[in-house]
Symmetry: C2
Subunit: 454 residues, 2 copies
């Protein structure tokens, strides 16, 4: 069974709750919003990503007869629920920030308006889809900001957490500005440019390193990038210089070399020297091996002659921040605003809009979170994308999303473009929201148990 | 396109290298081993997991005509490679540690012996499968050791990194000793016990908390677990006490309550008191909300009256250690041992076995890594599981794997059973391996460039 398309990829309580809602007749419209409760210290902003996959999920949501029969056999559900699932579809509305939009804590990036059983059910997978791509897009943006003029490539499939993570990390990092990925399926699925060279095992399989270089070059004359650090990096660079005339005679140009271990700054400098002295000034240097955005900043500060960088595990696992406090909360049911008041987890009720102001320099100057009905107070970030379970328009292309993200990164305040964001960003909550929250609390209080703590 | 079953879920260089191998006639048998280079500070041991999915991948590996046509259209590959892919299958041998086996740094958990193009190609997805489940099994084992007598449940689908991670985290944590998961698909796919209660949104959708409790109880009379912390936890506990007689009259027993926020130790104690005073001594207390193995240890130290724990994001992202340095390295090609010598990444060559000794107390006393041909030196951990691309026997059941993991945890030295493992575990490298590594180095040296650094 493929996990990515099964409606059973959900938490048990979602189905349990549907049953209770049906039994109790609670099928009126509910409003849920998805947002991140707080930003981690090393994330000055986030980049929304994954909406296209979220909409695919909603449009294709249905239970197969086999899945329904299995649920029935568990004995956990009543006949009414089982019957209901046969025609279960998502028929609701979605409003969302476009993919690639920079956003901050407590700003909804997606709103679901749908009959309560539907709106409740989609929670687990919606978070699962949007959380991961947003996490990786935000992580990738840090590398893009740290090395704006370098070729950045996602190398992280192998240690990504499973198949879908490997694929979607390629998409999310491309949105954030990476040049491409090594993950072939991301080329096939999304048209993302593919990059790749050779592994150490290729070199080791030959008895002679130069023979390995030559065999590879002759097999791939159009894309010769040679891996230098299997045995001795500088020695390998000299072998490349010595091999170049032979290849040139065969009409083959060496495009680049890759370094995957050791002191990459020092090695890049010495290899650059060897290549330049050998007349290979056009050969580029690509590095990889346990790198992250901090490495990129160190390369830039050392003025290392590095042209491209493969970033793997740190990107696809978002190693320093492997999760965001991304939640999906009920804001309104049957026309009445709702609010959770749990300790440190209280939420703002109602249907919301986020307005963004810009300074005279074109940079983002502050956001205001309001009720949806609030007067215009800047550029609105949340837009309708689905009505009645159908997309209002085809999703933007990945390159359109990527251009939007690029524009967003350009408009970020300078403080947020640093790897250690100092000053925060102003996100204000409008009076209408504060007032509504107080009203919800007062209503709850009035209904509370006699003698309740206040 | 479903990522989990496409052969295109690989790194571009794997296909690039196949083409070069074919062009150069390098199709003899290669031996690759998969291992973890070093253990993170907070992991005293790891638990092998994911072998069953790895074998599924190998048995089902093939390119569809559509995938081959797409690869052809990229223009990156020659006709020989494209032709070769039509009949590409994995026809090799696999030797591996059984799932649930405790292992340590540099110990191979899987060996591939196959024609070089095949053995090379499977690298990316084999690591992707085995790395993640092993990562989560090792993380889950820490909670099992910290709270041996508690009901532990995986709640982490939503912030797992994508669909497959959500599903496989349930499998890996069940192997390590969790009681079950909230992820429904893991019940359907693997028969893992399912757990679930209700969300805050369920409570909020009702105008009255008691009404929400009662509606839920009537809809699920067989599994009534009520969530207490939506507004005021202690107040909600009193509502549960007040509601119990009404439910009892209807033949419904409240099984448990769940707390998801606040000071869980203090709240568990006060809620326990309220329930006990209200005659609900049999009602269990289940907690959740940002918990990890350190929380569990704190609960135990405080003697908190907590019966079960839902562990989410920290488990499924292995938050403190979101990746392992898991690699897949060429050890032998065409009957000659191979070795990478990159700085800090040198590997031991050849086909290996891991032997484990036990003390008189039955606990693990030390491992020895040797060549496969070494004399018996303890219990061998690596066993044949696939020959000629086919499993030698059906894989063990998940419950058999779980029993094996339980036995392994029982046999761990006491120092490794702590969350902050102090003393390490003895893993020795046998003389035959050291000698072979020296021979490989001497051979490489002899072929090196004149004037090479030594």
């Amino acid at each position: 069974m493929e996990p990515a398309t099964s409606p059973l990829l959900t938490d048990l309580y979602q189905i349990t709750m549907i049953q209770a809602y049906l039994d109790h007749g609670d099928t009126q419209n509910a409003v849920f919003e998805l947002f991140v409760r707080g930003l981690p210290a090393r994330r000055g902003f986030l980049l929304a990503a994954g909406l296209d996959q979220a909409l695919d999920f909603l449009e294709n949501l249905r239970f197969s007869p086999v899945e329904i029969a299995w649920l029935d056999r568990t004995g956990k559900f009543n006949a009414k629920l089982i019957d209901y699932l046969h025609n279960f579809r998502f028929t609701g509305d979605i409003d969302a920030m476009p993919e690639g939009t920079a956003f901050f804590a407590n700003e909804p990036i997606l709103r679901v308006t749908a009959p309560l059983p539907q709106a409740q059910f989609v929670e687990s997978r919606l978070i699962n889809i949007l959380h991961y791509q947003t996490l990786v897009a935000a992580k990738a943006a840090r590398s893009v900001l740290a090395a704006p003029n370098k070729l950045l490539v996602d190398f992280g499939l192998r240690r990504a957490h499973g198949a879908e993570a490997g694929l979607m990390a390629a998409r999310a990092s491309y949105i954030a500005g990476f040049a491409g990925t090594a993950t072939v399926l991301a080329g096939e699925n999304f048209g993302i440019p593919l990059y790749g060279t050779m592994a150490h095992s290729f070199i080791e399989a030959f008895d002679d390193e130069t023979a390995a270089f030559e065999a590879f070059a002759r097999a791939h004359p159009g894309n010769v990038v040679l891996l230098l650090d299997t045995y001795d990096t500088e020695l390998a660079a000299r072998k490349v210089v010595a091999l170049a005339p032979t290849l040139k005679a065969a009409g083959i140009t060496i495009r680049g070399v890759r370094l995957d271990s050791g002191d990459l700054i020092a090695l890049a400098k010495s290899v650059r020297g060897i290549l330049d002295q050998g007349g290979l000034k056009a050969v580029t240097i690509f590095v990889s091996g346990g790198l992250d955005e901090d490495s990129l900043l160190a390369f830039a500060r050392a003025n290392a002659p590095i042209d491209g960088i493969g970033i793997g595990t740190s990107l696809t696992t978002s190693a320093d921040v492997p999760s965001l406090d991304c939640v999906y909360k009920l804001q309104d049911y049957a026309g009445t605003a709702r609010r959770k008041r749990s300790e440190k987890k209280a939420t703002w009720p109602g249907r919301k809009q986020v307005w963004r102001r810009y300074g005279t320099d074109g940079r983002m100057a502050g956001d205001l979170i309001t009720l949806e009905s609030h007067d215009k107070a800047g550029e609105p970030l949340i837009h309708p994308v689905m009505r009645g379970g159908r997309r209002l328009a085809p999703s933007p292309s990945l390159d359109e999303i990527r251009r939007h993200a690029k524009h967003e990164l350009e408009r970020l305040p300078e403080a947020l473009r640093r790897l250690e964001p100092g000053a925060g960003y102003s996100v204000e909550v409008a009076d209408d929201l504060v007032k509504l929250a107080a009203e919800v609390d007062a209503r709850l209080q009035a209904r509370a148990w006699p003698g309740a703590k206040t």
